[in-house]
Amino acid sequence: MENDVERRCWDTTNLIAVANHENDRAHTCQRIINDAIKHQRWTIVMSSLASVEFVRRRGSAQLTEAQVRDLETIFKQPNIEVKDLSLEIADNARLFVLKYQDYAKLRPNDAVHLATAINVNASVLETYDEELLRLDGIADVKIRKPEWMPDNPRLL
């Protein structure tokens, strides 16, 4: 039977926030990943494009072999789903660039993440990208910054 595990779609900014150790952002995203992998609270869906974009800036120091291995491993973890950029998703992404041009400067890569979220019927697209965030309430999926809540809020 099809499960009711929540699907949260992520774009690449969340992973970069973790790798860069951006204060509260890294902590929030780490908890979300942790709850996906270790506690199966939800599934994080990412476009395969994220594995391309999750790289260091040009001119940065080289990563060690172990770090490269770790980067590759993140996309293979349980409850981390990588959705390939199919022609169907690409077609939608192209349409979104035009459709939402009055609301945000949506670049093709951003549109791919949005199309992926809609394609997998995600409950939310989580991102730190301001242009994508502008489309919350306009696109066919909720868009917000990553949010982590404890399993039982009353224990807070």
Binding site: M1, E2, N3, D4, V5, R7, T12, T13, N14, I16, A17, V18, A19, N20, H21, E22, R25, A26, Q30, I33, N34, I37, T43, E53, V55, R56, R57, R58, S60, A61, L63, Q67, D70, L71, T73, I74, K76, Q77, P78, N79, E81, V82, K83, D84, S86, L87, E88, R107, N109, N119, V120, N121, T127, Y128, D129, E130
Partner: protein, 277 residues
Amino acid sequence: MTADNEVSLSLDAGDAGVVEAAAFIKATDLLLKALGAIEDSVARSKPQSRILNWKIRELSYRSPAKLCVLPETKAAECDHDRAEQLADKVVTHFNSASIYVAGGQGSLNIASGAAVKHLKELSTLVRKGGYRQISIGSRGTMYQIGSHQNLEELSETPVQRISQGSERGVVGSINVRSGMKFKLFNDSFGWIVDVTFEEDDLELVKKSLGRRADVYGSVVREPGHRPVSLTMRPGGLRDLPTGPEEAMDLDRLVGMWADDWDGTPAEEYLRMVRDGE
């Protein structure tokens, strides 16, 4: 079981004012067949393993004769939450199928498509049985069926899309008797994908039995993205980490390249990556 999941059937005999018992029984039978077919599809079970029983909640025989049923679990030992979720899904898919048959609107998936054959047959009572109107519905909304102009042409199978891609899951149930096949169990979404592969890859598939893997090839999906089947391309199977020794220590990801970070927010950092800066 929640009362929200009630399913209704109504037969309006029009001026005649009398609903024939045979027609009412036939309509009831078709309604239950439709609900049963959806349950089989959603639960991937056989008719004899069904756990939902439909109990009469309301029944009136004067035209329009009305039947209202509610799901209950058959077996007392059955997990209540699972049955509740199943009932919820069955009624949701029944609702989709009702909308589809009533007006040719919306799209089918495998579960709602399972009911269409029976609901189309139900509509023949309108045309052949002389009834003015037959309505079906759930959760308080009724849809009139039988008036759709091109009912015969309505497809009973969902429109499927085929694309190149991959699916992830646990490899299981290898079958070599009627072509080379195995089932891929996606634990996250509860999907079971039927995978066909070439004989040359049998050893590769056997080695992955019981392991998590990515399978690459031509994927057939129903509307709503659910994968149905996959034709694996030669060698298109890659094992994924299963043991703790292969699992990633998340702490290593945090701050992995913070040594090179100058405080640029992630969204700006990504723009620089994309611009090749």
